[in-house]
């Protein structure tokens, strides 16, 4: 059998194709994660089941129906606790896949910028997290008679998830290379992601309660600032985390 050699011109030698190469690699990583997940559905189902179990536990631990509570509503707080913990599962698993069969090496061998890999992973993780969040919302709505179809709430969920996933992907890449990998990610992530949680919960509550925008705006600003700072920093240091 004969194999024709590829043409001698190698792709990606000039800057315009460099950007195209970046996008192509990033797209490839996202597509790979989504395809694999679509087939096995392991990640989403684990995250969903976990989320539902957390709702169940909260149901017995607290009274979640706003009409029956005397204190102000804790809906936003409970939701974000759910998202944070389910999100950790997703982040861990997504990185573990790369580590287990040495696939991370496979990614690093490719002639692409490390940051393309980082953004690809972040985008994939974000999609998974948003999918879980969008399924939990209606379920929670039904169970506790709360209207969660609030565009402001959805915006907050998006902004908060971005910040969470941007830092989480970086820290997961580190945690997965340590011996204590499973418990390490929450320990590393939670103290650092607190501003996001606080801002997200406050902004969410604001939108659900119908508060004035003036009260909500500082929280939204905080979220946006966090998202920008950490996406930029994580993208800059990702190299150091995966190289040897």
């Amino acid at each position: 059998m004969t194999i024709e050699r590829q043409s001698s011109a190698l792709p990606g030698e000039n800057t315009t194709s460099k950007a195209a190469g970046f996008m192509r690699a990033m797209g490839a990583v996202v597509w790979k994660d989504l395809s694999a997940e679509l087939r096995s559905r392991e990640l989403i189902s684990a995250m969903l089941v976990f989320a539902l179990l957390v709702i169940l536990i909260f149901n017995f631990a607290l009274d979640l129906n706003p009409a029956q509570r005397r204190e102000p509503t804790i809906t936003a707080g409970v939701l974000w606790v759910i998202f944070v913990f389910a999100g950790t599962l997703g982040l861990n698993r997504s990185m573990a896949v790369e580590k287990d069969r040495g696939c991370l090496d496979g990614l690093l061998l490719a002639p692409v910028d490390r940051s393309a890999i980082y953004f690809g992973k972040v985008l994939g993780n974000l999609v998974f997290m948003l999918m879980v969040e969008l399924i939990v919302l209606p379920i929670y709505s039904l169970l506790y008679n709360v209207n969660l179809f609030n565009p402001g709430l959805l915006l907050v969920i998006l902004l908060g998830s971005i910040g969470y996933v941007a830092v989480g992907t970086l820290l997961a890449a580190m945690a997965v290379q340590a011996r204590t990998r499973d418990i390490l990610l929450p320990i590393l992530l939670f103290p650092v992601v607190l501003p996001v949680i606080l801002a997200a919960v406050k902004a969410s509550t604001g939108f659900l309660d119908g508060s004035e925008m003036d009260l909500i705006r500082p929280w939204l600003n905080l979220l946006i600032v966090y998202d920008i700072i950490f996406s930029a920093v994580a993208f800059m240091v990702f190299d150091y985390v995966v190289e040897e």
Binding site: L171, T180, L184, P191, P195, P218, Y226
Partner: protein, 232 residues
């Protein structure tokens, strides 16, 4: 690096002397505060410890950045030393904060922005140590430590601001007083002097411990090198 430098010995003595003087000042020189009484004396060491904790934190982040650029092991030892010392001082800060809060506001804890931020810093420090512990390769350990120190130092100011916004929008009155009033007693000149002196003392303690810890780290490296040589 064989014998202990003269300067370090001098620093040791100076630090002990300063600490003795500072203790005297805190208990005898500074007057008793009108409203809070003797428990207010905790304030001098509480703030000084917090100041050192913050110093350590920034030191660890800067050491991290320099390490990533230069890849010199010495900066990794510096970063680790800063974190270890920072943990001790932040712990002192948080505990003294709690001791102070109890008689004043009738609560062992207040989610005051500064105390909250100090606690978060402490947790990040501990996470830093746990991260290092889980990694075998020394170079990777140093790199990851550096990255986490940088990420941590960026998130802490944001945590502080978010706690501040939380306070201004939702002022909470706990117990018998407004926790926002922490530190809002007027300081007489004697108190101010005591305060500045405590700050100075704790800074000396920081550098003294820091220097010792770095020497310890380098000696440990030397031992490791000798050990590797004998194995060949």
């Amino acid at each position: 690096m064989e014998s202990k430098p003269r300067l370090l010995t001098i620093l040791d003595i100076a630090t002990v002397v300063l600490l003795l003087i500072a203790t005297y000042m805190v208990f005898f020189y500074a007057p008793q505060e009108a409203v809070m009484g003797d428990v207010q004396r905790v304030f001098y060491f509480h703030v000084a410890a917090g100041w050192v904790g913050m110093l350590s934190f920034m030191g660890a982040a800067i050491a991290g950045i320099v390490y990533l650029i230069k890849k010199d092991r010495k900066w990794d030892i510096v970063g680790l030393a800063a974190v270890e010392i920072g943990i001790v001082f932040l712990f002192i800060n948080v505990v003294t904060g709690s001791i102070w809060a109890r008689p004043i506001w009738n609560t062992w804890w207040t989610w005051d922005p500064r105390l909250t931020t100090a606690t978060v810093m402490l947790l990040i420090y501990l996470a830093y140590l746990m991260l290092r512990q889980g990694i075998e390769d020394p170079d990777r350990r140093a790199r990851f430590g550096a990255v986490y120190a940088i990420i941590g130092s960026l998130s802490v100011p944001l945590t502080y601001f978010s706690a501040r916004i939380f306070r201004t929008i939702h002022p909470i009155v706990i117990g018998s007083g407004d926790p926002n009033a922490s530190g809002s007693f007027d300081m007489t000149p004697l108190m101010t002097r005591t305060f500045m002196f405590s700050l100075l003392t704790f800074t000396f303690i920081f550098f003294d411990l820091f220097w010792h810890r770095i020497r310890l780290g380098r000696k440990a490296d030397q031992v490791e090198q000798l050990r590797l040589k004998t194995m060949e």
